[in-house]
Structure formats: C-alpha cells, structure tokens
Symmetry: C3
Subunit: 210 residues, 3 copies
C-alpha cells in the first residue's frame, strides 16, 4: 500500500522534473529529440551523478520506467502546448513533491552504502538539485539555482532534519515523512514570501584569476 | 584481416571526430592546447561517459592511440589551415563512418556487461553523440545536436536494427554490418534531404520553473 | 613534520582554488549558496573527475575538511569584500602552490592504481586544471584555460619531470619537490613574461560539422 503510494509520487515527481526540462528546451526551439534528452537529464541527472559518486550503477539503467515517464512528459507538452503554461501552480506542486522524494531517496541510498550523514546530505541535495543544473548547462544559461530563491537549501535543511531525527532514534517512516514535509514546507514558504539568500556583492569580473 | 579493417575505421572515425572539435575550437580562437583538449573530448567523450555509466575504466586510459590520433588531428589542422574547410565532404564521410562504428562498439560493450537491449541502445547513442554535446558545452554554445538534422536518431535506429536482428538470430558480423549501414544510410539521407524532427513550439522562456 | 607541511599546503591550495571560484561567482551576482557550490567545484572538481575516471570514491567524500575549507573561503570573501581584490598577488602564490600540489597528488594516486605514466600525467593535469573548467561551465563562460597563458601545460611538464626523474631512479621526496617546483616555476615565468601557446587561426564558425 505504502509502496504503491511512493511509486506514484516518484512517477509524478519524475514527470514534473521532465516537463520542466522539456518546457525550457521548447523555449530554445530544440527539436523533439533534444527536448526529450533535456527532460530526461533534468529528471534523472541528479540521481545519476549521485550514483556515479557512490560507485553504483545509475538507477535508471535498472528500470526503463524513467525513460517511459519522460516520453509521456514529451507527449503531454506536445499535445497540450500553451495550455500547460497556465497550469504553473499544478506543476509547482508536483515539482516540489518530487524534489522532497528525491532528497529522501538520495539520503537513504547514501546511508545504505555506509557513508556518514554529511555525505548523505550532500547526496540528497545532489539528487534533488543537480538535474536542474545540468538542464541549464545543456540549454546554455547560467544555472537558475545559483541566483534564485531557496531551492537547494530546502534539500540541505531536509537532510539536517533527517540527521537530527535519526540521532533522536525516530523510526524510518517518521524520518521520511518529516524530511519530505520539511523540504516541501521550506520550498512553499520560500516561493510565497520570496525568501532568498543574500547575493554575493559584485566585484567586476576582472578575468585574471585562474 | 577484419580486425585490421576495424582498427583503420576506428582511427579514421576518431580522427574525424577530433578534427570536428578542433575546427570548432579554432573558430573560438582557442590556443593549441585548448583545441587539443576539445578535439580529444569530442572524440573520446561519448565513450568515456558510456564507460563511467557502465562502471568500466574509460577505454582511452587503456590504450594511448586515441591521444596520438588526436595529436595527428591537431597537426593536420595546423598544417593545412583553410584548405581543410574545402574538404567538408571528405570529413562528412569519415565522421559518419566513425559514428556508425562508435554506435556498434557502444552496443556490444553494453551487452557484454549484461545490460538489456534498451540500455545498450542508449549507450550506443551516448557513444556516438555525447562527445559532440560535451564539445558544444566546452566552447559554450547550445548543443547543435538538439536543434539539427537527424543525428542521434540515426544511432537509436541503428540500435533498434541490432536488437531486431539479434532477436531474429543473425550472426554477430551481419548484425554489426547492418547496424553500421543503417546509421550511415539514415545520416546520409538526412543530410541530403534535410530531414529533421519537428521543433517543439516555443513558449516564451518564462523563467519560473525549476 | 613533513606531513603537517603538506596538509597546510593542501589547505591553502584548496582555499585559493575555492576563493577563485567564489570571486568569479560573485561577479555574476550568484547568491551565497551558488557561490559556495562554484567555489567547492573549483576546488574539488578536478580531483573528483580524476577519482571517477580511476574508479575510486571521490576524495572529498572521505574527509569533510574540503567542505569546511570552502566554507572558510566563502566567509573570507563575504567579510573582506573588495579588499580581497587588492591581494591578487597573494592569491596567485597560493593558487600556484595549490596547483603544484594537486598535480603531485594526481600523479601519485594514478600510479598507485597501477596505470602507466602517460595516464598519470593526464590525471595530474585533470586534478590541477579540470576544476577551473567546471567553474567556467557553471558560470557559463568559455573556459579561460583554453585561451590563456600557460596553465595546463605547466601541469603536463611537471608530470614529464616526474616521469623522467622516476626513470632516473630518484627518491619519491625528490620527485615530489622537483615536480612541484617545475609547475610553480613555469607558471610564474608564464605569467611574468606573458608566455602563451599559439592561437589556432580562426576559420569562421561555419556550423556544419557535427
């Protein structure tokens, strides 16, 4: 029962991430194949980097469903066109739930490999946020995540909650729920109240560091 | 006999890929070292990503010939200068044969590791096409492959032919030949008749997805 | 005693690399988190790529000090602001010493895995120079290293010195010192006398290779 629920959440999260990649690719007038690849990398890129760093086979190579879900995302974008833009809020919800789940998966997979908590927190954040960075590199824009409202920080705080709860001896289910809820809550509040980190004040680009 | 033939094809394919990277680097006024690195990554980047995803040591770390061939490519570009540009068609042939061979290598290496066919098709495509994406990221342009005529799709179709022929019980040699011929044929026809996938229609970049 | 010295050098080198990344991020008006990530990737990105290519767990996942040093770098940049710009020369020294040490670490780690010297020289260069390339990709500029004065070449020559000294039967300590001194010397002379490699003469970007 609970597993079915998690699978549905994971599919919706993957779908939301893939659609975000495909929509940005469409703004750059990529063709269908390019849009599919950008969508796929947005959805699975973070988890792939995590698995490579952990020395594991990337998760999507063991289960074709991520490729299929990205295909569905492409069909949805092609079929619905501009209509999708107006569903902004719906996507925000999926995207945020997906982010929360990706963080939990990243935390647990890393701890299962025997790494300490501080590595797990990084890997939770990588799972949630690195796909978006890869997407931005592929479409040749500066990664949004480095200049925008709280996003990766929500992943880090979620990881800290997992750590704290684990030290306090909570059960796995409670840990998962509270971590996910933390990520979602911070993300929702950050967007609602335009929370952001301070910007690092700009020296001119003087071009002589290396 | 046949092995010698394959080696010659692989060298010519590597040479063609390296030259394509070096020529694009020269248009950006990179120095010799930068051009060499871009040429090398164009030639071996796809196979390197494939090997990392499969958990193998990257192929070029086991044999210095890929570095040497890239060095020859750099010398050729330096020595011949603008003359090379007029050899466009010759390079197209090498590049296409190289692409076909890279796809076959990617398919077989992945299957040898025990992965299913759908993973092998992705890895064949990664072997053939990811080096060009890395090249475009390094010279800071949007990856050509996402907006151009059929290129990666030729790799995917080649992989499907390999799969179908394998299910039909064909011999390895026939599989290899027909896969390579499929990639070459699709690529040649795509360029000749300007085949392309539909472009995903452009929403404005609204910048508020993540 | 000597180990303490090496640790101090490594910390200073990591600090200098991280500061170079954070300063370039600040010129692009990244927020604190973005600046931290760019600084971290500048400092550990080269070694991470090396470890992935060698099939090892990335070094910074085994020791949290690299994350902490990057945090110190961020605090230094935030606290000192424009004052840091005038310390250009101090950073150049740290950066160059860090580069030299990173090259030595890359050489020795690769040889310890049983790879031949030509692979070790590449890995020494990757350790020293790839982090800066990743930094430039993240902030979406063309990698400086491909168009600037001698930088990666200093790593390559250092590696050749290590190889030559090793063939000549020198002791490890002498090898390390002479390799590092070579990298530092070439780098200092290159900046002082504006040494650079020839630029590859520019065909127009004709956009029809792949």
């Amino acid at each position: 029962m609970q597993n079915t629920f998690l699978v549905i959440i994971e599919i919706l999260g993957t779908l939301a991430f893939a659609i975000s990649g495909i929509r940005l690719a469409s703004a750059k007038r990529f063709d269908w194949f390019g849009a599919y690849v950008v969508g796929l990398i947005t959805a699975v890129g973070g988890g792939t980097l995590r698995d490579l760093l952990l020395g594991l086979t990337p998760f999507w190579m063991l289960n074709w469903s991520y490729l299929a879900v990205t295909g569905v995302a492409l069909l949805l974008v092609i079929a619905s066109g501009r209509y999708l833009i107006r569903m902004q809020n719906t996507f925000f919800i999926f995207d945020t739930i997906g982010l929360a789940l990706f963080v939990v998966v990243g935390l647990e997979k890393t701890l299962a490999e025997g790494f300490p908590f501080w590595v797990a927190i990084i890997m939770g954040t990588v799972t949630g946020a690195a796909g978006g960075v890869m997407r931005d590199i592929l479409i040749n824009v500066e990664p949004l995540i480095f200049r925008r409202d709280i996003y990766a920080i929500a992943c880090v705080v979620g990881g800290l909650v997992y750590w704290g709860g684990s030290l306090a001896g909570w059960q796995v289910n409670a840990l998962q729920l509270l971590t996910a809820a933390t990520v979602i809550l911070i993300r929702v509040l950050a967007v609602k109240y335009h929370w952001g980190l301070p910007v690092l004040r700009g020296e001119e680009a003087d071009g002589d560091d290396n």
